[in-house]
C-alpha cells in the first residue's frame, strides 16, 4: 500500500471529488497559480482550470460569502482558509450564513459546502497564528466538524465532507501536512462522518483525542507501554456529531479517561467530552476525567515558552499516571 503525505492525501481527495462531481470547486487565497500556500492544491489549476480553482484577494469574509452564495444555488464549494486564524474574519458567513441557511430557509436553500484549512499551532508563529478553533466551531449547531489526524483519515473525511449536504468544517494542521501514512491506491477511501476509530487498543487508560493530538497520544502510549501500561487511543475524527458510543465503550473498559486537545482548557471541546464521560460513564469511573490542553495563555513566540505552553506527550503520560493512581 502506498505511503503518502497528509498533504497528498488531501490533494487526492480534492481531485477525486472534483472529477466525480462538476459542481465541486475550490476557492481561496493562493490556491491556483501558487499551487496552495501549503501545496495542498498542487496541479489542480492545470487540471481543472480557472473556473474551478479560484484565486481570491485577501478577503476572507468576501470569498466565504461568495461560497455561501454558490452553495445556495446548488454548487458545492470548498473554501480554503490559509489558516483558521484568518478565518475569524469570515466567521459571520460561517456561523450566521452557512450554519443557519438550511434551518432558516426550511431546507429551501441547499448548503453543501466545505470550509477547510490548517488549525492550531505550528512552530513559533506566535499568539495570533497558533490557535485551535475546534471549540468555537463545534459549538455551532448546523456545522459538522472533522479533524483528521492521519493521511488516511484526511482523505476519507475530506471526501465525505465534500459529499455531505451540510456545511462541514475540516480542521487540518500545518504540522500534519508532511506526516506520512498508508493510503490505498485502487480503492475509494471514504471515512463516514461521526465515527471515531480506536487507533490503539489498551485496557488501562483511555486517551480521547482528535486531529494533531492523535500523534501526541501515540507518543504517550509508546512511553507508557515501556512501563507496562496499556493506553487505548480513541480518535474521535469527527467532533460534531461526536461518536459517543466509542467513548463509552472504551471508558467502560479502562475505567479512566484522559482527554487531549490542542486548544485552551476553558470551555474547550475536551470539557464537552469530559461532561459526556462523567454523565454517561459515571459508574464506570475509577478516577476523575483529566484533560491535557494548551496552557491558558496567548501562545508565546519564544521557543522554550511555546514548548512549555503546548500539550505534549510528557503531560499526557503524567495525566495517565495520575488517573491510574501511580502518581499524585
Amino acid at each position: 500500500m502506498p505511503i503518502i503525505t497528509y498533504r497528498d492525501a488531501l490533494n487526492q481527495a480534492l481531485r477525486e471529488e472534483m472529477q466525480r462531481d462538476d459542481r465541486v470547486f475550490l476557492m481561496g487565497e493562493e490556491v491556483g497559480v501558487y499551487q496552495g500556500a501549503y501545496k495542498v492544491s498542487k496541479g489542480m489549476l492545470q487540471e481543472f482550470g480557472e473556473m474551478r480553482v479560484v484565486d481570491t484577494p485577501i478577503t476572507e469574509l468576501g470569498f466565504a460569502g461568495v461560497g455561501v452564495g454558490a452553495a445556495m444555488v446548488g454548487l458545492r464549494p470548498i473554501i480554503e482558509f490559509m489558516t483558521w486564524n484568518f478565518a475569524l474574519l469570515a466567521l459571520d458567513q460561517v456561523v450566521n450564513s452557512a450554519a443557519k441557511m438550511l434551518s432558516m430557509s426550511g431546507g429551501q436553500y441547499p448548503m453543501a459546502m466545505v470550509f477547510r484549512g490548517p488549525n492550531g499551532a505550528a512552530l513559533q508563529l506566535s499568539a495570533q497564528h497558533s490557535q485551535a478553533w475546534e471549540s468555537w466551531l463545534a459549538h455551532i449547531p448546523g456545522l459538522k466538524v472533522v479533524a483528521p489526524g492521519t493521511p488516511y483519515d484526511a482523505k476519507g473525511l475530506l471526501k465525505s465532507a465534500i459529499r455531505d449536504d451540510n456545511p462541514v468544517i475540516v480542521l487540518e494542521g500545518e504540522m500534519l501536512y508532511n506526516t506520512k501514512g498508508e493510503v490505498p491506491e485502487n480503492e475509494e477511501v471514504v471515512v463516514p462522518l461521526g465515527q471515531a476509530e480506536v487507533k490503539r487498543e489498551g485496557a488501562d487508560v483511555s486517551f480521547i483525542t482528535w486531529g494533531k493530538m492523535v500523534l501526541v497520544a501515540q507518543q504517550a502510549a509508546e512511553q507508557l507501554a515501556k512501563e507496562n501500561i496499556a493506553a487505548e487511543i480513541i480518535d474521535l475524527r469527527t467532533l460534531n456529531p461526536m461518536d459517543a458510543d466509542a467513548i463509552a465503550s472504551s471508558v467502560s473498559k479502562t475505567n479512566r479517561a484522559v482527554v487531549l486537545e490542542e486548544g485552551w482548557s476553558v470551555a474547550g471541546f475536551g470539557a464537552h467530552v469530559a461532561d459526556f464521560v462523567q454523565r454517561e460513564c459515571f459508574d464506570d469511573l475509577d478516577a476523575p476525567v483529566l484533560r491535557v490542553h494548551q496552557e491558558d495563555v496567548p501562545m508565546p513566540y519564544a521557543k522554550n515558552l511555546e514548548r512549555a505552553a503546548k500539550p505534549d506527550a510528557k503531560k499526557a503520560v503524567a495525566a495517565a499516571k495520575k488517573v491510574l493512581y501511580l502518581e499524585n
Partner: protein, 459 residues
C-alpha cells in the same frame, strides 16, 4: 423556604441509620418537632423529628433502607413550592460532621443572594433559629448558588459550602463511582475497605484487594465441591442490623478478624456415665463413647439454638436449619474436621458408627473433600489425652466451636454435701460478630440440661 430532612447522628458513634418506619406520609402537614420516622442507630431505635414546618413533600428513603449520616432523606416545604432542585441534589450535599453536637449545630441557612438587602435579612433569620438542629434550611431553588462578588454570605457559613465528604473525612469514605458499583455488586461493605487513593479514596484496586482477602479467608467455601450444596430452606440469611454491624466492626478492630470470646462450663456427667455403663452391660454392640453422647447432645441442642448454628458471611449471617457437626480429628501431622451431616436427625448409634468411620478414614487420609467441608458447628475433644480444659479455634465461616475436656471424678457439693462426681469441662469459643455472651450461655445451659439429664435427648 424548604427544610431538608437529613439522617441525623442520633447517637455519638452513629455513622449510618436504617429507616425502620415512616410515621408521616407524603402530603401530610408537618409541625416543627413532630416525629417523622423511626430510625435504627447502632444502638437503638430513635425518633427522627421535623426541624421545620410545612408539608412532607417527598420521602427519599424507603423503609428498611440505610443512609449515612447527613444524607437527605426527605423534604418539607410549602405545598406549592418547587423542590426539584433539592431532590435532584439528594445525597450530594454536605453532611454535618458526625461528631458535631446537634444542639450546637449552626443553622445552615442561605437566602437568595441576588439583591443587596438579603444580607442583613439572612443574618437576622439565622439568629432567630440559631438553636435549631441540623436540618438545613435552603432557598427553594438555585441550591448552592455562590454569593455574588462583594456579597460574602454572612456568618454563619451555609452548610452547603462545607466540603462534600463531611469535612474531616470521618463520616463517609470517599469512593470512586466504579468502586462503589463494584462493592454493591459484590456485597461488600465499603466501611470495611481501606482506601489507597488520594485522601483515602476507595478505588477499584482496593475493592479487588478486599475481595481477594475475603476469598483467602474462606478457602473451604471457595474450594468445596460441597457434598450437600445449601438449598433454600436449609438456612435463613439475615441482613446485619446496625447494632450487629457495630459489634462486628468494633470487636474485629479489637481482637483480629474473628473477635472470639470463651464460655466455660462444668457439667455433671454422672448420668452420662450411668447410661454408658448400662449400655455396655447390654452388650458390646450397644457401646457408645462419651464423645458420641456429647455429639448427640450438641446436635440436639443446636436445633433449639439456631443462633449459634451459623456462618458469618461478611454482610449477613447465615442461620442454618440443618445441623452439620464438624468433629476435629487429630491425624499424624495435623488436624482435620470431618462432618457428620444432619447430626440432629441421626440416632446415637448412627453418630457413633459414623464418627468412628470418619476418624479412621481421616487417619488413613482417605477423606473426600465433601466429607470435611460444610460444617455448621464444630466440636473438638481432647479428653482422651487427659486434658481437663482448653480453648479451640473457630474454623471460619463457622461462628463457634466447643472444646471438650476429660471426664474426671471430682469432689463437688451436691445438695450441701461433698460428693465425688464425674465432671466434664467444656469451653465454647464464640465469634462475637454473631454470638453474644448470653446467646452462647443459653446454648450451654441447654447442653447442660441434656448431658445432666440424658433422657432429654429423647424428650
Amino acid at each position: 423556604m424548604a427544610t431538608k430532612v437529613v439522617m441525623e447522628a442520633l447517637s455519638p458513634t452513629m455513622e449510618e441509620g436504617r429507616l425502620v418506619k415512616w410515621l408521616k406520609n407524603e402530603g401530610d402537614k408537618i409541625a416543627s418537632g413532630e416525629t417523622l420516622a423511626e430510625v435504627e442507630t447502632d444502638k437503638a431505635v430513635m425518633e427522627l423529628v421535623a426541624r421545620g414546618e410545612g408539608v412532607l413533600r417527598k420521602r427519599l428513603l424507603g423503609e428498611g433502607a440505610t443512609a449515612p449520616v447527613g444524607q437527605l432523606v426527605a423534604v418539607i416545604a410549602a405545598p406549592d413550592e418547587n423542590i426539584d432542585a433539592l431532590i435532584g441534589g439528594a445525597g450530594g450535599d454536605a453532611a454535618p460532621a458526625k461528631d458535631a453536637k446537634p444542639a450546637e449545630e449552626v443553622v445552615a441557612k442561605t437566602e437568595e443572594t441576588a439583591g443587596a438587602s438579603s444580607v442583613p435579612r439572612a443574618t437576622e433569620q439565622a439568629q432567630g433559629e440559631a438553636s435549631a438542629p441540623p436540618q438545613q434550611k435552603v432557598p427553594a431553588f438555585r441550591m448552592g448558588t455562590a454569593a455574588p462578588k462583594g456579597q460574602a454570605p454572612p456568618s454563619p457559613t451555609p452548610a452547603t459550602e462545607q466540603p462534600r465528604d463531611g469535612g474531616n473525612g470521618e463520616g463517609r469514605a470517599r469512593t470512586s463511582p466504579l468502586a462503589r458499583r463494584l462493592a454493591r455488586e459484590r456485597g461488600l461493605d465499603l466501611q470495611t475497605v481501606r482506601g489507597t487513593g488520594p485522601g483515602g479514596r476507595i478505588i477499584k484496586r482496593d475493592i479487588e484487594a478486599a475481595v481477594a482477602e475475603g476469598v483467602a479467608a474462606q478457602p473451604a467455601a471457595a474450594g468445596a465441591p460441597a457434598a450437600a450444596p445449601p438449598r433454600e430452606g436449609d438456612f435463613n440469611d439475615v441482613p446485619l442490623t446496625q447494632m450487629r454491624k457495630t459489634i462486628a466492626r468494633r470487636l474485629s478492630e479489637s481482637l483480629g478478624p474473628i473477635p472470639t470470646f470463651y464460655l466455660t462450663a462444668d457439667f455433671d456427667m454422672d448420668r452420662v456415665a450411668e447410661m454408658r455403663t448400662a449400655m455396655v452391660e447390654m452388650g458390646d454392640e450397644f457401646k457408645v463413647s462419651v464423645n458420641d453422647i456429647v455429639m448427640k447432645a450438641v446436635a440436639t441442642a443446636l436445633t433449639l439454638h439456631p443462633e449459634v448454628n451459623a456462618h458469618w458471611l461478611g454482610d449477613r449471617i447465615r442461620y442454618f436449619n440443618r445441623v452439620h457437626l464438624g468433629m476435629a480429628v487429630a491425624v499424624e501431622d495435623g488436624l482435620i474436621t470431618p462432618v457428620i451431616f444432619d447430626a440432629d436427625r441421626k440416632r446415637m448409634s448412627e453418630i457413633s458408627r459414623e464418627a468412628r468411620e470418619l476418624a479412621k478414614r481421616a487417619r488413613d487420609r482417605r477423606l473426600k473433600p465433601d466429607e470435611y467441608t460444610g460444617a455448621t458447628f464444630s466440636v473438638s475433644n481432647l479428653g482422651m489425652f487427659g486434658i481437663e480444659h482448653f480453648t479451640a479455634i473457630i474454623n471460619p465461616p463457622e461462628t463457634a466451636i466447643l472444646a471438650i475436656g476429660a471426664v474426671e471424678k471430682k469432689p463437688v457439693y451436691v445438695n450441701g454435701e461433698l460428693a465425688a462426681r464425674q465432671r466434664m469441662r467444656v469451653t465454647m469459643s464464640c465469634d462475637h460478630r454473631v454470638i453474644d455472651g448470653a446467646t452462647g450461655a443459653r446454648f450451654l445451659q441447654t447442653l447442660r440440661r441434656m448431658l445432666e439429664n440424658p433422657l432429654m435427648l429423647v424428650y
